[in-house]
């Protein structure tokens, strides 16, 4: 891997960038300095301004103040096209694909090879196939409609799209959030190939171990300001990075667990028997006891979301689901909710949030009946309950009336959790609850989840990050190709072991 020499001239310099949104100064004088051929990591808590900064760089937002120098020249990035022309391509955090178009059409959208406006379909497909093969995903067909792809596959398409331009700088905004472990390794391989050709990469992630593995230098943002420039990714201790990001020390990432076996006598909150979803999940049985966190480990696409959704009644399935000793009929989540379940779905924006609506309305959505009499809402009670959750979970900014779409990902995730906490659940189904959530907030979320368990709630946790499952859950089930292939106490497993099982199907 090429080492960037300290004296090599900057490819990109951003100085004093300011970006103001109504009510928020998202960027308050940010500096960034990126060299050719390096992987430059951009770190910061949720809402620190990372995405906003790279959108300024991509020509999506116009900065209110500040200067950008690219390739030695001062530039004005007035539109996405302007940035693309300069050789800056971007993989956005919110996937920027058009569901109704095919993979190839998405990859070449806006720069289709065409003669007199007529697209050369075969050429587009061939080029796309090559790009995908280069990314190690030859199995994705250029003609498939993007709407039918899994989030992970969409991420790959976004990547192919970024590579389809002649580019000198690629910006990746949390590319690994939707990727499983082996996919991340593949991503790193690609990044190394790029940097070897002198392309610079700006890499954003909340997984600090990735930074250490792939990064050369680090810039840290906090509250829209640069708090550290050009740190060495390899040599700066994680604790220092974390305290730069959060302004405090995050001591214990995972909260302490109760003694092994301490759940044995507790009542079963959930019992699932012979659950099958045709073609996706076969014959899954599991139990969750009161106070227990049960983790589902597995690859993306292993069928964990289907298991959770089937339990919740959100997807047609056969088998028995028993909550607190009472069978729950499937087919409609409202029955599951009435029985005492709650779900934090995998795709927060698409499945969890009313983006246009306020934080409060998002939080109170599932508990309206609690403050309503004959359908009439007691708004004071609604507001005070929501406010309590905002304080307890540390949702920032702590405003009830803000549209939730303006909150950072981590804070949005907390709001989804808050929705169920108000309503006194017996069982929480958490599907990738920390996706896109920063270290500080993660630690807080872990603490909240453990506290809930300690209060007697059963938790079924899906996560693609093996350390998270191992660190947080009491008991772990390993899912592969729609089946549970292993079950044991979390303390009896280590990361390698689990990875072997989820990838190779090797028994414990």
């Amino acid at each position: 891997m090429p080492k960037s020499s300290p004296d090599s001239a900057s490819l990109l310099t951003m100085r004093g960038i300011v970006k103001q949104f109504p009510g928020v100064r998202a960027l308050d004088g940010v500096d960034l300095d990126v060299r050719a051929g390096e992987v430059h990591c951009l770190l910061g808590q949720n809402g620190a301004g990372k995405s906003t900064l790279i959108k300024v760089l991509a020509g999506v937002h116009q900065p209110d103040e500040g200067a950008v120098v690219f390739g030695g020249r001062q530039v004005r990035l007035t539109s996405p096209t302007a940035a693309i022309r300069l050789g800056i391509s971007t993989i956005y955090q919110e996937l920027d694909l058009v569901d109704g178009l095919s993979v190839a059409e998405n990859v070449y959208l806006g720069h289709e090879p065409a003669r007199l406006g007529f697209v050369s379909q075969s050429q587009v497909n061939r080029a796309t196939r090559e790009l995908l093969a280069g990314l190690g995903h030859g199995e994705i067909r250029p003609t498939t409609e993007v709407g039918r792809l899994s989030p992970a596959a969409k991420q790959v398409v976004s990547m192919a799209r970024a590579l389809s331009y002649d580019t000198r700088l690629i910006v990746m905004d949390e590319p690994s959030a939707a990727l499983a472990h082996d996919e991340v390794a593949n991503l790193f391989r690609i990044i190394r190939e790029l940097t070897a050709q002198g392309v610079a990469v700006i890499y954003i992630s909340h997984r600090l171990e990735e930074i250490r593995e792939i990064g050369d230098r680090v810039t840290v943002l906090k509250d829209g300001r640069t708090v550290a420039v050009g740190l060495s990714a390899k040599d700066t201790p994680t604790s220092q990075v974390v305290s730069l990001m959060t302004g405090r020390n995050v001591e214990h990432v995972f909260p302490p667990r109760p003694r092994p076996g301490s759940h044995d006598g507790r009542p079963e909150v959930l019992r699932v028997e012979g659950l099958s979803v045709p073609g996706r999940v076969s014959d899954v049985s599991l139990t969750v006891r009161a106070g227990e966190i049960v983790g589902l480990a597995g690859l993306v696409g292993a069928g964990r979301s289907e298991i959770v959704e089937a339990i919740y009644g959100a997807r047609r399935a056969s088998g028995r689901v028993v909550l607190n000793g009472t069978p729950v009929r499937g087919g409609n989540p409202s029955r599951a909710v009435r029985a005492g379940m709650g779900l934090a779905p995998e795709e927060r924006k698409a499945q969890g949030l009313l983006l246009d609506q306020s934080v409060m309305r998002n939080i109170s959505l599932s508990s309206l009946d609690r403050y309503a009499r004959f359908g009439w809402i007691d708004r004071d009670q609604e507001a005070s309950e929501a406010r309590r959750q905002i304080e307890e979970l540390g949702i920032r900014p702590p405003h009830l009336d803000r549209p939730i779409k303006n909150l950072s990902g981590g804070n949005q995730q907390k709001a989804v959790l808050a929705r169920w906490l108000i309503n006194g659940r017996r069982l929480l189904l958490l599907d990738e609850p920390t996706r896109g959530v920063d270290v500080g907030a993660r630690a807080e979320l872990y603490a909240v989840i453990r506290k809930l368990a300690d209060e007697g709630i059963g938790v079924l946790l899906v996560s693609s990050e093996v350390p998270e499952v191992l660190g947080l859950a009491d008991r772990v089930l390993v899912v592969r190709e729609g089946r549970v292939i292993h079950e044991s106490d979390a303390r009896d497993l280590d990361e390698h072991h689990v990875l072997d099982m989820i990838m190779e199907g090797m028994p414990a």
Binding site: Q20, P22, R25, V60, P333, Q357, L365, R402
Partner: protein
């Protein structure tokens, strides 16, 4: 569509610091600021009225006339607001109103007296709405098509029931006609009915779980479903509500015209939807207000009233109406940042 091509954020005033949150949002929710454009437009129209027809426009009797005119379609607009916020559309409103008016004024129905006639109109409206809702929810038909089919079928049924004749309200059932002629504190009873429907609609939308769920179902049906809302049932209820409003409107049009007829309510669907959208509700659902819809409707009604008072000819009146719509909307541009 292109609205969303420009991110909303670029438009707004850029001078607050990170921590000073604006208080404006509460007000927005109350509907104060987004309706500003509509209110300005109404005021401008009033000024035009005062200037061009000073002696007539600002009289009490003209006001009553505007409100009576607005009442029928106003009631329908309330229902349409719910449906559209809930992410749907109801093209059948005018036809369902016509069918309800015809059904309620057949000789057979009339023989049971005014009370039964009213009940009949409400039931027919609600029933047609239910059918819409079931076709859409459980038949999984696109709302546009399901309610278009209802439009066509309801008009046909109304023609067939009435044998294409206008059905007069009989002498014995004049109570219904009295709604438009009897005045209480200077206003005809039907204006009060209109007001009551608006107030109840507002309360239902803003103060009840039903209203909240309507926003959720329209804003993100998948999220609503996963939050435990029975989206299908709710959808059925929304169309039934719209149908009920058509039934009420049928009673009002019976009162105003003293008849039931298959021709009543022609093109009301366009007027109602236009009022709702001018009022700031998005066709994509999840957003909107009753107050906005009613203001939108009043703008249309006052425009018509002004034309009547000024004796404009149809052609000029249509041209002017087109221009006024454009101006009114550009005035309230800020609330239209998202897509439809």
């Amino acid at each position: 569509m292109s609205d969303s091509s420009t991110p909303a954020v670029d438009e707004q005033a850029p001078t607050r610091t990170r921590d000073s949150m604006p208080r404006a949002t509460t007000w927005n929710r109350l509907g104060e600021i987004p309706h500003l454009g509509l209110i300005i437009a109404l005021v401008l129209l009033a000024v035009v009225g005062l200037v061009t027809v000073p002696g007539t426009f600002a009289t009490a009797s003209n006001l009553v006339s505007v409100l009576s005119l607005a009442a029928t379609i106003g009631v329908i607009t309330v229902g349409a607001t719910f449906v559209i916020i809930g992410g749907g559309i109801d093209l059948s409103v005018g036809a369902v109103m016509a069918l309800a008016s015809v059904w309620a004024t057949t000789l057979a129905t009339q023989s049971f007296g005014p009370f039964v006639m009213i009940i009949c109109a409400l039931l027919v409206g609600t029933g047609a709405g239910l059918v819409n809702g079931l076709l859409i929810s459980y038949g999984r038909m696109v709302p546009f098509i399901a309610t278009l089919a209802m439009l066509v079928a309801a008009r046909g049924l109304a023609q067939r029931m009435s044998d294409r004749k206008t059905q007069l309200i009989q002498q014995g059932n004049q109570v219904i006609v009295d709604m438009s002629t009897t005045r209480v504190l200077g206003l005809p009873v039907l204006v009060y009915i209109f007001a009551v429907v608006v107030v109840l609609g507002w309360l239902l939308l803003n103060r009840t779980t039903f209203g909240r769920r309507t926003y959720a179902v329209g804003g993100n049906p998948e999220a609503a479903r996963l939050a435990g809302i029975d989206v299908r049932r709710h959808t059925v209820l929304l169309y039934a509500l719209s149908g009920l409003c058509c039934g009420i409107a049928a009673v009002l049009i019976m009162a105003r015209t003293t008849t039931g007829s298959s021709t009543h309510g022609d093109l009301y669907e366009l007027d109602a939807i236009a009022a709702v959208i001018i009022g700031g509700t998005l066709l994509t659902g999840g957003r909107g207000t009753i107050v906005g819809s009613i203001l939108g409707l009043l703008i249309f009604t006052v425009i018509t009233n002004l034309f009547i008072l000024n004796g404009l000819n149809t052609a000029d009146q249509l041209i002017a109406k087109g221009l006024i719509i454009v101006v009114a909307v550009l005035l309230q541009r800020r609330s239209l940042t998202s897509r439809t």
